[in-house]
């Protein structure tokens, strides 16, 4: 290596290092910090009177929305409310007794299974515990 090559190497390496030391913190800055919010194991969602047959409501379960459905026969179901396709929020369609996503016409049955349209996976299920007239949604193990 001659003198010129040596100086070019030092200068080039210095310039690269200088650039990297500026780019790295900027990239890290743009990634938001982790959310340290523990997801609960269960939430209370109200009394049975709040859920007439053929109705549904959406609640926040930790960071994710959960849809609580009371079907026409009076049975309770709780599922994640975010569509497994592209993240829209689903709704209960009482006429057909299914869970429907308006964004691209995805359909699930009340157990969360994807039955038609683009959704690739079933919705996660939660357990619904009714004690007295109090309704609670519980994470399944």
């Amino acid at each position: 290596m001659n003198r010129r090559q040596f100086i070019n190497l030092i200068l080039g390496g210095g310039a690269l290092g200088c650039l990297a030391s500026a780019v790295y913190p900027v990239l890290r800055y743009m990634m938001p910090p982790e959310q340290v919010e523990a997801d609960p194991d269960s939430i209370k969602v109200g009394s049975t009177k709040d859920f007439p047959a053929g109705s549904s409501k959406i609640f926040k379960f930790g960071r994710k929305p959960v849809i609580v459905i009371r079907d026409l026969k009076g049975g309770f179901h709780a599922l994640t409310a975010t569509c497994t396709h592209l993240d829209c929020i689903v709704q209960y369609q009482k006429e057909n007794d299914i869970v429907w996503c308006a964004c691209h016409n995805g359909k699930y049955d009340l157990s969360g299974k994807n039955v038609s349209g683009p959704p690739p996976r079933p919705l996660d299920r939660f357990e619904v515990k009714v004690s007295g007239d109090e309704v609670a949604v519980v994470r399944t193990a």
Partner: protein, 352 residues
């Protein structure tokens, strides 16, 4: 006696050689032929961008970004501020018309084969301008923080999350977190009012510089040409005035809706659809089954749509490599096929 005009010009000329620039400009000319009408489309894009900068800055005087204030401030603009509804409607309508003209301009230069050597880089910068304009539309659409915008952004960004390996990282980067929240709104706002205006201005500057350096395609073969100053420029100005009037009429008779405020715990409303310029992609994604050969449908969608985009971007290069006898036919086929395909998918998306 020298007129004031000449005196002023002399003053500038002594310092900045403006007569040289004027002399150069006087030689600028535009070919006249059947398709000349389409030469105005690019100018209309430029004009509308100026209009967007102007109305955008006006909106900034009252708009307050934030999950608790965006919706409220846009409602304030359209219900309380004098002519606020007009400024907002003009900005929203002009955004749509701008996208339309970018498409018209792009397909017309494609079909006129103006992308051929030596104008490959002009074509590439033009494709970048399309991307930037659509990014403007997508980011601006979220800013009122209403229900439709919320779900459009959820779906649009979730698609980015499907990219293999880097997906989850990219998703978090774009959304400013796992979900679409006020953090996403802040990011989109910064993009919409600072990053994109700077990038678009720069890219337009480069695009126009290339056009100046190379002149118009087909100038030599054209039977006639027209001087740019003042003949073409005045025609440009008349069309801009017409476009401005059309936008004003749309804004007055079809004021832009605000809808309901975004709510992270509300179901997506029935009949939800993206803006018309994303409808073709939307319809395409809707048609894909959950899985094809074990690979998720969305991934296929991303691969096919991006592949088509890359082929379009590289059109001047693959077209040049075709045998001479096929070149013209290929341009016709791809150009008209592209227009017909996009129009059909858009219409289908609109009707279904």
């Amino acid at each position: 006696m020298k007129t004031l005009y000449d005196a002023g010009l002399d003053w500038l000329d002594e310092r900045l050689q403006v007569r040289k620039a004027m002399e150069w400009a006087s030689h600028k000319s535009v070919p006249v032929h059947q398709g000349s009408f389409f030469y105005y489309a690019g100018g209309v894009c430029l004009f509308i961008f100026g209009l967007q900068v102007f109305t955008g800055i006006l909106l900034l005087m009252y708009y307050r970004v934030g999950a608790d204030s965006s919706y409220e401030s846009v409602r304030y603009i359209s219900s309380k501020v004098a002519y606020g509804w007009l400024i907002r409607s003009v900005h929203s309508w002009a955004a749509n018309i701008m996208v339309l003209f970018v498409f018209i301009h792009m397909f017309s230069v494609f079909l006129m084969k103006a992308f051929r050597k030596p104008r490959e880089l002009t074509w590439v910068t033009g494709c970048a301008l399309l991307g930037l304009t659509m990014a403007f539309g997508f980011s601006g659409y979220l800013l009122p923080w209403n229900e439709l915008a919320f779900f459009a952004t959820k779906v649009g960004t979730d698609i980015i999350g499907q990219v293999p390996a880097a997906g989850p990282w990219l998703l978090k980067f774009v959304r400013g977190g796992e979900e679409v929240t006020g953090a996403t709104l802040s990011r989109f706002f910064g993009l919409h009012v600072a990053v994109l205006p700077a990038l678009l201005s720069l890219t337009v500057g480069i695009h126009l510089a290339f056009v100046q350096i190379q002149g118009m395609a087909h100038e030599k073969e054209a039977p006639k040409t027209m001087p740019f100053f003042p003949n073409f420029f005045l025609r440009d100005a008349v069309l801009w005035l017409l476009v401005l009037n059309a936008i004003a009429i749309l804004a007055v008779f079809f004021p832009w809706e605000l809808g309901r405020k975004a709510d992270a715990l509300a179901s997506a409303p029935a009949g939800i659809k993206p803006e018309w310029y994303f409808l073709a992609q939307y319809q395409f994604l809707k048609l894909l089954p959950a899985r094809i050969l074990l690979i998720p449908g969305e991934l296929w969608g991303i691969i096919v749509l991006n592949g088509a985009g890359v082929l379009w971007l590289l059109a001047p290069f693959w077209e040049a490599a075709l045998p001479d006898s096929m070149k013209d036919g290929a341009v016709k086929l791809v150009g008209w096929g592209g227009i017909a395909g996009l129009a059909a998918m858009t219409l289908w998306g609109h009707l279904s």
